[in-house]
């Protein structure tokens, strides 16, 4: 097993199964305890309100991972839809979609996400939907190019000649050939989305307390880093470790599956 896959599995398992076995709660405050350095009882220590940092990290990890996966799926879905239509139908439809993507491409989307989050009350699902709706542009372009190449290939032409219907051709011949592409670029998209979510939560506009996400923990840590550095260093380092493994996994998959493109 590759090291990045090992780290990701470990982090995923700890985040999703850990709370079942761990006795501490993520929102119970204990003001008398205050911020404690890591010890046997509180493995990551406690935060300024006496909440257990490991529990908060695990629950925050769940939210961050789910946002990454959810928004990633939405983005890949939209990208697949629009890329397929543009590439498969071609002609004016293709030109329209590609022009739309050209126009949308330079928009400062981070600002738009911040704006929407600040103005619409900072709901969690809103963050997922908005992020998914913003990240599909590159995906659509890549898929459209691949669909066009596939459409020109001999086996699709043969299928046409044998009287197969276009929708069936797309389903049976084109979609299976897109899966590895979606897997690779989806994997590279997820760290991007997790990063963006943490960035927005860091500005205080994403996930709201008492819930936590990795971005919220880093923000909390940065506030009190002078007295309690572990509040910053532990979540920060684990966040970077996750990003690092996700990026390495994406690169690895790309080298294995999509070397030519």
């Amino acid at each position: 097993m590759k090291w990045h896959l090992f780290i990701l599995t470990a982090i995923g398992l700890v985040c999703f199964l850990g709370p079942l076995f761990y006795s501490q709660d993520y929102h119970t405050q204990n003001l008398l305890l205050g911020a404690q350095a890591p010890s046997v009882q509180h493995i990551f220590g406690t935060d300024i309100l006496g909440r257990d940092l490991l529990a908060r990290w695990m629950y925050g990890g769940r939210i961050s991972i789910l946002i990454g996966l959810g928004a990633g799926l939405i983005a890949v879905g939209i990208g697949l839809g629009i890329g397929s239509i543009a590439g498969f139908v071609g002609g004016n439809v293709d030109r329209c979609f590609m022009r739309l993507i050209d126009i949308l491409y330079p928009l400062p989307f981070t600002l738009l996400i911040i704006l929407i989050m600040a103005l619409t009350g900072r709901h969690l699902w809103m963050l997922v939907v908005v992020m998914g709706c913003v990240k599909w542009l590159t995906m659509a372009r890549i898929i459209r190019n691949r669909v066009m190449a596939l459409k020109a290939s001999t086996f699709v032409e043969c299928s046409y000649c044998m009287g197969q219907k276009p929708l069936k051709i797309w389903w049976k011949h084109i979609l299976p050939n897109l899966i590895s592409l979606m897997l690779v670029y989806g994997t590279l998209l997820i760290p991007n989305i997790i990063l963006e979510e943490a960035f927005i939560s860091f500005l205080g506009l994403g996930v709201q307390p008492p819930l936590s996400s990795w971005g919220v923990l880093i923000l909390d840590g940065a506030r009190f880093m002078e007295e309690y550095p572990w509040l910053l260093l532990i979540p920060g380092c684990f966040f970077s470790l996750t990003l690092c493994s996700l990026n390495a996994l994406g690169d690895h998959l790309r080298d294995r599956l999509e070397k030519t493109s």
Binding site: D102, I103, P106, L107, P108, T110, L111, L112, I114, L115, I116, A118, L119, T120, L195, A198, F199, F202, L203, G204, L205, G215, I218, L219, G221, A222, M225, E226, P229, L232, L233, G236, F239, S240, L241, L243, C244, N247, A248
Partner: protein
């Protein structure tokens, strides 16, 4: 080429207009206005405020008014900074942000570019693997993780330099380096891939066969051809560095346009919000436009294609 650039310019104007409209209506349609946080304002005061800022007119009228003022280069008065116009605020903040962004961009391009070339030359050898590992590390430390850690380590632990302000040149080192770190990783990877692509082509072999020196081949043949993907990245890099500077400016307390935007968003200062968003969008579009021209100069194929 000229036609292509004109088309791009036309697109950019549309993007600015669309973004302005979107932001305008989004800021107006959501419940809550800029004066809601003010406690205990009398009805008359509120009415006067609304009248002063033109809030009592129909929405469409406000929209037309705003854009007709915008055409003359007037962003209107700020709603939370009493007595300041948005133009004034932007004028104070933009030079600081531009300087921060410029240095970060320069450092990341020089550092990342050099790193990428070295990696391509020593492909699959120790130096390549070492730098690529370093790049992966750079990519994994986004500004909001690296920034606090750097402040904690250099300012609080080692006591060198201070984390606040933008006066002397020593104030500029930490923020620019923090901002540049992640993007130099991106650029190094991009540069490495495109250099490798060029190095494998036969005209490089020809150049060596003609007896040109290694330096000459690298600088005049490889670099010129490998540069265009990296140049194309400058457009997205501007956007990325800009969003990174939101964090950097709030962490290091730099009075730039990023912190202006954050305060405008959180305080619902509509006119300031529109001003900052349009400024950022303008900057990104301008950069994309310049990149198009530069790539056209670098790569004749691009010129012919359009």
């Amino acid at each position: 080429m000229a036609r292509f650039l004109l088309k791009r310019l036309w697109d950019s104007l549309w993007v600015l207009f669309l973004l302005g409209t979107l932001t305008f209506f989004m800021a107006r349609f959501v419940p809550g206005g800029p004066f809601d946080q003010e406690c205990n304002l009398s009805k008359t005061t509120l009415r006067n405020l609304a009248q002063f800022y033109g809030y009592d007119k129909p929405l469409f009228q406000q929209y037309v008014d705003y854009f007709s003022h915008l055409m003359k280069g007037d962003f209107g008065p700020s709603m939370r900074y009493a007595g300041h116009s948005v133009n004034q605020l932007l004028k104070e903040c933009i030079p600081v942000s531009l300087e921060l962004g410029f240095w970060a961009m320069l450092i990341s391009f020089l550092l990342g570019g050099t790193c990428g070339i070295v990696c391509a030359i020593y492909h699959n050898r120790f130096l390549d693997k070492f730098f690529m590992l370093l790049c992966l590390l750079c990519l994994s430390f986004p500004t909001f993780v690296l920034g606090p850690i750097i402040i904690w380590f250099f300012v609080l632990k080692l006591n060198c330099g201070q984390a606040i302000g933008w006066e002397t040149w020593s104030d500029r080192i930490l923020p620019t380096l923090t901002l540049a770190c992640m993007y130099s990783g991106y650029i190094a990877r991009l540069m490495r891939t495109s250099c490798l692509d060029v190095l494998h082509q036969s005209f490089i072999k020809t150049a060596y066969a003609k007896g040109l020196s290694r330096f000459r081949v690298l600088f005049f043949h490889v670099l010129k051809n490998a540069l265009s993907p990296v140049l194309t990245y400058m457009g997205p890099a501007t956007a990325a560095i800009m969003s990174g500077s939101l964090v950097i400016e709030s962490l290091f307390q730099i009075p730039g346009a990023g912190s202006l935007f954050i305060s405008a968003v959180t305080q619902r200062d509509t006119s300031l919000l529109l001003g900052t968003v349009l400024y950022f969008a303008f900057l990104i579009l301008l950069m994309n436009f310049l990149v198009d021209i530069a790539v056209g100069f670098c790569n004749p194929k691009q010129r012919l294609k359009s």
